[in-house]
Symmetry: C2
Amino acid sequence: MLNNKLDRTFAALANPARRAMVERLVAGPATVSELARPLPMSVPAVMLHLKVLEEAGMVESEKVGRVRTCRLDSAMLSQAEIWVAEQRAMGESNLDRLVKYLDETDGGQ
Amino acid sequence: MLNNKLDRTFAALANPARRAMVERLVAGPATVSELARPLPMSVPAVMLHLKVLEEAGMVESEKVGRVRTCRLDSAMLSQAEIWVAEQRAMGESNLDRLVKYLDETDGGQ
DNA sequence: TTTATTGTTAAGCATGTACTTAAGTATAAA
DNA sequence: TTTATACTTAAGTACATGCTTAACAATAAA
């Protein structure tokens, strides 16, 4: 499982701790401890979440001295957004056509 | 885990079989066998994926006779789209500000 | 009324996820 | 040079996910 890039991206977003980390990182880079501080879990647990985000290509990090600084890469976020937007748009336009058809043919009355 | 609605939505989308089912359903309703036919797995496995999509509120289904017909509900897809779009937009505007700042201050040169 | 179709349930198995605590390493501050 | 900080690794636990096959139920077609 999780071969596909979209698999990894959506799986990464399917967790509230990881979404919180993304929500923090959209405001700018942060260290591991800054990411961990608001989260109700240990630092090693945050490291695992960070690894998931990095493997999904959504976050990059670099260690300088003893501090690892993480920053968002929004490219995969864009890919996910495009996929969802396309499906939603097609689903809704299909529904619109159905509603219009029912209106025109007095369907269901 | 998976308390949050977004958790379930993103988790549902994190699987290629389930995304394929959604991609089929945006074109209109389909039966369980129609959803299963193109997928490289057994019908019981497809039923499990269908259950995940239903529990995420993305698909509704109704059984008439021996046939269960499934249709997409795009509301949760919209919720997911909004979250992703917001984060991506904020991430990019933040990056834009950084680039602009570096340009103006001759940063990094 | 036999038979085929459509779906459902149950049991089992392998792997992945989401943490924990404990014990390290490397760096920087006192 | 001792000590605190920031992260990392390892080991272990509990539960969830993604399938499988086999057996079954309900309905429709022959």
